[in-house]
């Protein structure tokens, strides 16, 4: 092999040119956003503040909250609900982990909280370009929404991390779970701020219907007080009609974990007084005709204090109507309430007469009636014969979500009630009874306001404290069936497990068997994996 000496650099790049080039390149590498806004120079005008608060409400209308998980995990999990097993087989059967939306309430409520925090920090700083009253109201709305979200979280998960600053104001992402009482303290603080800053319904600066109002904040505050009071009450019994034989069963209440030692009576007094304040303010009132609550014309009016705002022809539509109504794209709806609960209404009660679809057609035109034992009344109507096989056809479908823009499509504009004024007189009645150790005349009066509006007979006179308590709880179930109230009622009275397991196998074979872990939802695994200050999940998960 020939030896060859080859010497020398083949190529040399002048590194010196580098230094020269760098300075002029800095500008070329600067990023200018072309199709999105940056938060740094947003929050300038009143319009910006309105846009920011709308962004908080938006978190309600997501696949974390009211595009199903929030109502699926609460409405489908009580003693009065029944439905098809393919829909009630997860959260409706004590198996929320099998449901795709199980993490929704956590993620969605914290989305509300984070956005509310951002509004509070940035709108607070605005001085020019915004009406002082509107600014105050928008801050009040942020407090309301944050308080609402923590109230949902503490009921569903127990103690949760309390964040009152945005991640940019407080970059610590690892916040530990606060004790239950501290979360309630935040709920109360936010709702107090909200009722102080918000305008009453109908005020010129209150914003369009759908925005939070003063009366709404006070009512939710009353409900929070009531939840704390009933949850912390150490002893007592609640009589609940149920089991498989629909008999009356007396359940000894338990204390809600984390509320031990609270002055229950004081909180009942607070709830009573706050409810009284809302009643006396006359900011809201009942519809004289119960059915009007659920008509399209009744939306956002009078009794409908706060509803999920839907809008046909936009992305803000949901599938409440096809899941809960008699007529459905499935044929018939997937969710109804039980025959046992139906028997809890008097025959003349408008909530049973008008509130249930007694004669209806499926999407293929098959006529059905309900219930089979009232065949004389409903089997043949106007010459049409309706069907009912006496067993699986006995489905008490509510009319609450049926009046929508187009009932024949999977997604329509049903409004979901987030707070209804009818709750306020019942909060008063329940709290007044507990506050003084028995039902007062005014407690009876407010209870009968709800009963007489439904054309039901007045509540029986001379009830004991325990009987009155149980009666109000049952009245709440009659008034708010399938509105996401019952499960919370059973839990805050500490009788959820007793009531559910008394039934065991529910109507249409929906399992009502519940273990202790069902009192709370599991904290999402992603939170446990990433938040180093949370080391354990809720008991049993």
């Amino acid at each position: 092999m020939r030896k060859m000496i080859q010497k020398g650099w083949k190529a040399v790049a002048a590194l010196a040119t580098l230094a020269l080039g760098l300075a002029s390149c800095e500008k070329a590498l600067e990023e200018k956003p072309l199709s999105f806004l940056s938060p740094e120079n947003f929050y300038q005008s009143e319009g910006d503040a309105r846009i920011a608060i709308a962004g908080v409400y938006n978190a309600l209308y997501t696949y974390d909250l009211y595009l199903q998980p929030m109502w699926n995990l609460t409405v489908l999990d009580d003693d009065h609900v029944s439905g098809v097993d393919w829909f009630l087989g997860t959260s409706g059967a004590g198996n929320p982990q099998g449901y795709w939306g199980v993490n929704g309430p956590w993620v969605g409520c914290y989305s509300v909280i984070a956005r509310a925090n951002t509004v509070l920090e940035n709108v607070e700083r605005m001085t020019a370009g915004i009406d002082a009253d509107v600014k105050r109201r928008i801050l009040g709305e942020a407090h309301y929404l944050r308080g609402w979200a923590y109230f949902q979280l503490v009921q569903l998960y127990g103690g949760v991390p309390v964040r009152v600053k945005s991640l940019s104001a407080d970059p610590n992402a690892n916040i530990p779970r606060a004790p239950v009482k501290e979360v309630y303290a935040q709920v109360v603080a936010d709702l107090k701020k909200a009722e102080e800053m918000l305008f009453p319904f109908g005020h010129a600066k209150a914003g369009e219907a759908g925005h939070a109002t003063k009366g709404l904040a006070s009512s939710l505050l009353a409900k929070a007080y009531l939840t704390m009071a009933s949850g912390s009450l150490a002893t007592g019994n609640v009589i609940v009609r149920g089991g498989t034989d629909n008999g009356n069963y007396t359940h000894a209440k338990t204390v809600v974990a984390g509320l031990e030692g609270l002055d229950s009576k004081a909180y009942f007094q607070l709830a009573r007084d706050k409810a009284k304040q809302v009643i006396d303010s006359r900011e809201y009132s009942l519809f004289p005709n119960w059915k009007d609550i659920w008509s399209k014309a009744g939306r956002n009016r009078q009794e409908n204090m706060w509803q999920l705002q839907s809008m046909a022809g936009t992305p803000f539509v949901n599938n409440l109507s096809i899941y809960f109504s008699a007529y459905s794209t499935f044929g018939r709806g997937a969710v109804w309430f039980t025959n046992n609960h139906y028997q809890d209404y008097e025959d003349a009660d408008r909530r049973a007469l008008d509130g249930v679809s007694h004669n209806y057609l499926t999407n293929t035109g098959t006529p059905y009636y309900y219930p089979s034992w009232q065949a004389a009344q409903y089997r043949i109507v106007n010459g049409v014969t309706y069907n009912n096989n006496g067993t699986t056809d006995n489905r008490a479908y509510t009319i609450k979500f049926a009046d929508v823009n187009d009932p024949t499509v999977a997604n329509s504009d049903a409004f979901f009630p987030l707070m209804r004024y009818a709750e306020v007189p019942l909060i008063f009645a329940e709290a007044a009874n507990e506050a003084v150790g028995g039902p007062t005349a005014e407690a009876y009066a407010q209870l009968n306001v709800i009963r007489s509006r439904a054309q039901a007979s007045p509540a029986p006179a001379g009830m004991s404290q325990e009987q009155f308590r149980s009666y109000v709880l049952a009245e709440r179930a009659r008034e708010f069936v399938l509105e996401g109230v019952r499960r919370f009622d059973l839990c805050r009275w500490g009788i959820y497990l007793q009531v559910m397991n008394r039934i065991s196998a529910g109507q249409n074979n929906i399992s009502k068997v519940r273990a202790a872990r069902n009192l709370l939802l599991p904290i999402p695994q992603a939170e446990l994996n990433s938040n180093r200050s949370i080391t354990a999940n809720n008991p049993g998960w």
């Binding site: 199709s35 709308a54 099998g98 916040i175």
Partner: protein, 473 residues
């Protein structure tokens, strides 16, 4: 309707120097300085040096006359490279459109973009530093060649989405987080085994062993999980000292055969009767944490690893007279696959179909259930199959990737045609594997290294048969 406009800029300066001495020593040195618009204001620039040295021993006097060795080269190299494979604007805070209707009027809404995550002004280049030592050996005038490479690569400041606690209002953030090391050996051998007038036989074999290890996750992070692979399951754990692709989950211990067995478990002894009864014929999960009263997340452990022990390929080309034959085998050994089909089609009794094996292996009352492979078949919706070993399978396989048989006609055998070759080729002819899914060569998440080895029921490699005729005129 939301559309996006993006812009990004990359500026590079590159310098390289080569030096060769006597065709025995070769040296290459380079340096590049890159600036990318995608990173934080103060982290846009980074420098990446590299150097390589080769020693051609066959040109040294002591080997120059060797007949046996035609090539013997030793190689050493070192190099740094940068990765900027992320989207634009990742270091900036973004507002996204989140509208809401009020009483039938749509109101524009804006809030922090959940998908973009919180802004990270400190975002910088991901860098990889690689060392390589290699040897090339040529024998018998190039008839036999051997290449051996040993390498170690370390990647720092990995650009990845890290799960942020949802309690912050965000679910992920793009960060420079963690360091990963890959090291291994690659061996390639090619040889002309036989070459004479009648017969030619060439063979080619390569095998590589790679070991992946997470060195750190960044900051004081001890463990983290890759994204969910179903609504509920996120089995890929990342822990320092273990490879990316470690699987974390529950271990099983058969089935509860009777009520007494359920009652004897501290998890169930004081549960309602209905729950105790329905647990008969259900999966018994091992309780591995200190808390005997429940099966919870802390009962999980390492149950698999999607990284193979080695991968290899083997090609043989044979020519006998006018016939030619080529056979290409490919194999992977020692990896696990997360078979999500068994998750979706494994929970018997819901409104979904299950596979036949699940029904055949179901626990049944009154039967000898020691070999049962699935819980009891009853209509139910309450059963949650926790992520356990049952969803993980050995993904080792040996595949006949290609077999080609050809025949070339004698030149000018047909008038007007200068050459004619007829060949039959079969791709993916046969796969030797124990994997129960469609195809062990599966990667449903594409090139996402955090989620390798997952079978979401994708379309398998198809077997194709090609008959070809080639004419030259």
């Amino acid at each position: 309707m939301v559309t996006g406009r993006y812009q990004s800029a990359l500026i590079s300066f590159l310098g390289r120097a080569n030096y060769a001495y006597d065709d025995r020593y070769l040296l290459t040195v380079s340096y590049r300085h890159d600036g990318s618009s995608k990173f934080g204001r103060n982290n846009k620039w980074a420098g990446f040096p590299s150097a390589a040295l080769a020693w051609k021993l066959h040109n040294e006097s002591f080997l120059a006359k060797s007949k046996a060795i035609s090539n013997l080269t030793l190689r050493l190299s070192y190099g740094m490279t940068g990765n900027q494979g992320i989207g634009s604007y990742a270091s900036l805070a973004k507002l996204a459109v989140y509208n809401y209707p009020f009483n039938g009027t749509l109101q524009t809404g804006l809030a922090d973009d959940v998908f973009a995550g919180p802004a990270n002004a400190g975002l910088r280049w991901e860098t990889t530093t690689a060392y390589n030592a290699g040897l090339d050996l040529g024998l018998a005038g190039g008839r036999v060649n051997v290449h051996v490479d040993a390498y170690r690569k370390r990647t720092d400041d990995l650009l990845q989405y890290i799960t942020t606690p949802a309690s912050t209002g965000f679910q992920r953030q793009l960060r420079n987080s963690g360091s990963v090391q890959n090291q291994g050996i690659e061996l390639a051998l090619d040889a002309v085994v036989v070459r004479n007038a009648k017969l030619t036989w060439k063979t080619l074999f390569n095998i590589s062993f790679n070991r992946n290890k997470i060195l750190s996750l960044g900051g004081d992070l001890k463990e983290q999980f890759a994204n969910n692979i179903s609504t509920r399951d996120a089995p890929f754990i990342q822990v320092a000292g273990r490879p990316i692709g470690s699987i974390f989950g529950y271990r099983e211990d058969g089935y509860y055969d009777n009520e007494a067995e359920v009652r004897s478990s501290p998890i169930y002894y004081n549960q309602p009767l209905a729950i105790i009864r329905r647990m008969v014929g259900e999966i018994k999960y091992l309780n591995l944490d200190g808390d005997a009263s429940s099966i919870s997340l802390t009962d999980r452990t390492f149950i698999g690893d999607v990284n193979p022990d080695f991968i290899f390929g083997f090609t043989n080309n044979l020519t006998v007279g006018r016939f030619d034959l080529s056979l290409f085998l490919q194999g992977v050994q020692g990896n696990d696959i997360v078979n999500m089909n068994t998750v979706w089609n494994g929970n018997i009794g819901t409104s979904k179909n299950v596979s036949e094996q699940v029904l055949a292996g179901a626990w049944l009352p009154g039967k000898d259930n020691s070999e049962a492979t699935a819980p009891k078949p009853i209509r139910q919706f309450w059963r949650t199959l926790l992520f356990s070993e049952r969803f993980i399978e050995d993904g080792s396989f040996l595949r006949v990737k290609n077999l080609t048989v050809g025949y070339t006609l004698k030149q000018r055998a047909v008038k007007g045609i200068s050459s004619l070759r007829l060949a039959l080729a079969v791709n993916n002819l046969y796969t030797f594997t124990k994997y129960s899914g469609y195809d062990p060569e599966v990667n449903s998440y594409g090139d996402n290294p955090a989620l390798f080895g997952v079978d979401l029921g994708g379309y398998p490699n198809s077997r194709s048969v090609n008959l070809s005729l080639r004419c030259g005129f």
